[in-house]
Amino acid sequence: VLLSAEPSSNPAHGARRAAHALALGGRAASLFLAVACCSLLLNGARSNSATADEPAVAAVFGGEIKPILTAKCGACHGADDPSGRVDFSRIGDQPSILRSRKLWRKAIAQLEAGTMPPQDEEPLTPDERNRLLAWLRPAAAAVDCANPANRDPGPALVRRLSLAEYNNTVRDLFGFEFNAADAVGMSDDAGAGNSFGNLAAALAMPPTLVDKYFAAADKVLDRLFCAELSSSIDGNIEERARIARETMFGVKSRAWSKPDAAVGPPEGVAPREAARQIARQFVRRAWRRSVESDEIEQLLKLYDLADRNGESYPRCVRLMLKGVLVSPNFLFRIEADGAPDGSQPVRRVDDHELAVRLSYFIWSSMPDDQLIELADQRLLTAPGPSNVAVKLSGKLIGVPNGNSPSSAERAFDGDSWTVYESNVSEGSWLGLDLGEPRVIKRVRYAGRPGDPRRMLNGKFQGSSTADFSADVVELASVDQPPENERYGALDVSAPQAVRYVRYLVPKEGWGNVAELEFWGLTPGTVLEQQVKRMLSDLKSRALTENFAANWLQIRNVALARPSTEFFPDYTPDVRKALYDETATFFDKLREEDRSLLEMLDADYTYLNEELAKFYKLPAVSGKEMRRVSLAPDSHRGGLLGMGSILSLTSHTSRTSPTLRGKWILDVLFGAPPPPPPAGVSVLKDEAEKGKEPQTFREKMSRHSADPACAACHTKMDPLGYALENYNAVGIWREADGARPLDTSGELPGGEKINGAGQLKELIHKRQDQFVTNLAEQMLVYALGRELDYYDDCPLDEIKGSLVRGEYRFSALVMAITASYPFQQRRAAEATGASAVISGSNP
């Protein structure tokens, strides 16, 4: 399965497919065949079969299309100073037509919007326009995915860590939180033009930033070495930093709580040798690859330098660590160039590179120990069913007698600082329903910091019954108290498959346990296993924070400024709850591996007390977001029923059907209308003085009647009008003040919609376009670059997998990690297919 995205490795097979494509092209000269294929493609039913009609598309271009382009577009888009760097004169032969697929798509959008040729140029005749469109539509889709020449993983990228990635990497490297934005004012990389904050091309490295990396390294190390003013930091962070330095220096737990603690190398080890060992351990994690010994020796020069200056042992090590943290090896994600044998233009990424790609995609952070270990053993790229035990996830089960309802979750949150406690001294237990029987190979655990003995004689058990009333299997028992603030692990001597697993608290144990992990076998390849494991880790919230929050634009909820005069209920707490509703909704799709289509419509959402009140829905108690089932008449469910989206697309005092329509086109369907032409004015409230007061709707239509505006507004506005029942902060209303609402509209194709219900139906009909867009967006996020024409085939395959996987969250992530551009890398200098894009990356 892992290899499904690879091009056919059998050349004969590939050639046969290509020949088939040619034959098709010859037999059916009509381009409408390609059109049919293309719409099938959009339905996601098509997988990797060769049906594109490349030669036919090319033939028509030379005879029919190019003359129109030369005559009507050539003045601006010719070889001489091409406007917008679009130069039609360079396109002629079949490969150049193929490579221009992105351009063709833009051209279709411009023609459909009527924005090209511009108004002051000679227009196209209706016939020319029709002929162009009839050719462009199939041309934009014509690609033979079976042809290896059409395979290209895209430019080989060197990527700087984004702000979010930097913060998370520091967190996972040391085990304590650190925010470089607050500490040294590093700016957020997500913003205009770099929608997810992780596009390689946009991640520059100006001097001010390098300066901040130096300052940030100092502040991180201040925290690690207990050199911070302790009043300025969270006690929790302080404790984690202590554990981090004690672990790093091999010092006894709680021996290094004060800055002046005398810390030396372990007994019997020379200081320089001890420093070397620290460096070896640290650098391979920090630089996310195996490290050569000469690289360690180089770092030791810093140790020597500080030593010559008469610095203490910890300070000598500290200087070395600083060198690691400001190194290009830390700040950039670098993959080696060159194929192993120097001949292939494209090579598969190696295990460590794959581990890094995976972890930055799913976690926005460095690989954890298991990924690194698997990469060391070259198992991450291994084909076939895995034999590796992974940390299992499941639904929480247990006797509910913790101190708080969420207390049991703390034993499974991957954080050994948070603790489960029970209010009875014995008899409590907690565990997981694994969903189906799994063979358990190992358990890992951590005790309560300071009180690890409370786990002594605790038992790990499995069962086929949820209440452990029958078939109880002893997995392991804690015979030795775990070391304070460290993990313990036990192998299961006679592994067997069980669906329910638990930890049974010993006498006088008071439930106390910090972490519980059950490791077992799961189906699939090692890669698939790891992706699933990673997705069930809390760290994959990064997908919500860095992918979804940017894609859905809900970060802008913080910028919405509804007038306090009209909307006094829109309090800061409500604002936060609105963001949380959408974020939690997406996060739970991941956590519960649900269908991504639920974003379009769902019979549930997440609310807290404030938000339920704001929406005027039945009461919910507490500040936490809770899953709430929605009644059919609740007017909620799916993204378009969420106040976050509805308020971020509104003006201060009124709704904006245009912005809402634009959000739907742009965010849901990935088809943003072009920005308004320069010099366009906004709604003129006072423009028509002396006339009867108009409805808001009439004012809008006057604006949209302007031909310069109409092409796009006829697409956007009807979608937005359908949502008019939601006011500027997303509250349901039946009228706009004294005036009735008009929620009807007609789309350019003549399709009529009226109200939010029909809008949902319409979107449901175009669900395929939504899925395509979602796959595209997430692929952009995963690759850290904008997509190009050569990404058509991988996208097609990802969509196919997503459909087969019933649109589950994990199906999308899995398909992306298995995709050609994720698995492959351009190895050599621009050759073959890769040569063509070098122009876009000067």
Partner: protein, 484 residues
């Protein structure tokens, strides 16, 4: 996707292709005349400041009625009345650059300090041209602790180091202060003593020694990596190398200038140092700074005052000679400042108060815009007053500065003609203020930058689209009458 074709090579193309790394040696040759002669004359250096507000202006309340000597100032400029003799108001400037796929705010912002012929986004990255502040900083910056400062909660992109490398703005005043005085003490330079005492020999302390070791190491690593990478990837490492070099320069500066500043500490210049008293607490997230500012104009004013204080302090202590301050935010609310109508949200007011023709605009919202801009000017006037009080030994800091007060758009409707612009200060005596210059048929905004760079002692014949703009006319890149 379209690759470069055989177009004539412009200066910009050369810069773009070669990258800033290659541009550096070139810059040595462009060192300003004044800087070279600085040791001889006891004259303080000229500083360049840009104070840029959001949302343009309301031109009928900004533009003085007549050209020539400044008479009574219009209402937006009224708070500058006591400083009238220090001002040169320049009317009739326009931006002619094109943009590709940008919204109105981005279009105006990218052109603002660059006057680029074309602005766009490429590979997700803003693309315009080098901005005037960075152009100056690259030439003046090596004489100071920091080449330039960019201050403010700026969501727009103004500063570009090169066509595709942007410079972030710092919104946290504490971090600005920390950056200015990392490993050095604030001290007022004694310009007359400096003119007679040569720079003492460098002393290195163990801290900078360690820092130097780290820098040597990472430079080594970057060179090694660079060799291993294909040419397409190398530019990322080049950028890193160049940036680390600038950190190295800062350390070298600390080493060599440390003694000079120690001498100044014993006998500082005549003016009093005033350190900012209300810096935010350490480790405060930026939203905690931004949110109160957006909601409360008094806090907003205090914040702009604090940034202005930092600009003045940076000039007074010669920490840098180039500062850009982006004031205001479209997202702000202005209750109390705006006293007409019911709307208080800046961006909404800007749009309602502007239209294709001023008479089409909502007059109430337009009055609200006017109130906001008069409020900005008040804060600007406070800064100039302080600069005028700072004695640098016979001349004031304002005398030795060239401060541009303007906006990134000409009005709240993304206007590109009739920009508000005024210069304050005398650029060390090169500029004769107290006048109003008017270019009725519009002149390229870039021409003002050409004039400013020349006033800074950087001989320049063109900048941005000064010669190619559709407003270029027969100005030949200059503003006639500028020097009086």
């Amino acid at each position: 996707m379209m690759s470069f074709t055989s177009r004539p090579i412009s200066r910009r193309t050369v810069l773009r292709g070669a990258g800033a790394l290659l541009a550096l040696p070139l810059l040595e040759a462009m060192t300003p005349r004044r800087a070279l002669g600085a040791a001889a004359a006891a004259q303080p250096p000229v500083r360049m400041g840009i104070f840029s507000v959001t949302g343009g202006t309301v031109i009928e309340s900004w533009k003085p009625e007549t050209a020539g000597p400044l008479a009574k100032l219009p209402s937006i400029l009224r708070s500058l009345e006591p400083l009238k003799d220090e001002l040169l108001v320049v009317s009739g400037l326009a931006q002619g650059g094109r943009s590709d796929g940008l919204n109105g705010h981005e279009h105006c912002a990218y052109l603002h300090l660059t006057c680029a012929e074309t602005a766009k986004r490429e590979g997700g990255k803003p693309f315009a041209d080098i901005s005037v502040d960075q152009f100056a900083a690259q030439r003046l910056g090596k004489d100071t602790f920091l080449p330039s400062l960019e201050l403010g909660l700026n969501n727009n992109q103004y500063s570009f180091r090169s066509p595709n490398v942007t410079v972030p703005f710092e919104g946290n005043p504490r971090l600005v202060f920390e950056r200015m005085f990392r490993s050095r003490k604030p001290v007022v330079p004694n310009w007359s003593r400096r003119a007679t005492t040569p720079a003492p020999a460098a002393v290195a302390d163990s801290q900078s020694n360690g820092e130097r070791g780290v820098i040597d190491l990472v430079l080594d690593q970057a060179h090694g990596l660079r060799r291993k990478l294909g040419t397409a990837d190398q530019y990322k490492l080049d950028e890193y190398l160049e940036s680390v070099h600038s950190v190295e320069q800062r350390i070298a500066f600390v080493e060599t200038r440390h003694r000079q500043e120690v001498l100044d500490l014993a006998a500082p210049g005549p003016s009093q140092l005033r350190l900012p008293a209300n810096l935010p607490a350490e480790g405060i997230p930026i939203w905690k700074i931004a949110q109160p500012i957006n909601d409360d104009p008094e806090k907003h004013a205090d914040y702009i005052r604090l940034l202005a204080e930092l600009m003045v302090l940076a000039f007074q202590t010669d920490t840098t000679r180039v500062v850009t301050l982006a004031a205001g935010s479209d997202e702000s609310l202005f209750p109390g400042v705006v006293t007409v109508g019911y709307e208080r949200h800046c961006h909404t007011i800007e749009h309602q108060g502007n239209a294709g023709r001023p008479e089409d605009a909502d007059p109430i919202a337009r009055e609200a815009c006017r109130q906001i801009h008069a409020w900005y000017t008040q804060l600007f006037a406070e800064m100039l007053t302080r600069m005028k009080q700072i004695d640098e030994g016979g001349s004031s800091l304002l005398d030795n500065s060239l401060i541009l007060y303007t906006s990134y758009m000409s009005n709240g409707g993304h206007g590109l003609e009739d920009y508000p612009a005024l210069l304050a200060g005398r650029a060390g005596g090169a500029l004769k203020p107290g006048r109003h210059l008017v270019y009725d048929k519009q002149a390229p905004f870039a021409n003002l930058y050409v004039e400013m760079l020349n006033l800074m002692g950087l001989e320049t014949r063109s900048f941005g689209d000064a010669l190619t703009s559709r407003f270029a006319g027969s100005y030949n890149g200059r503003l006639p009458g500028m020097l009086g």
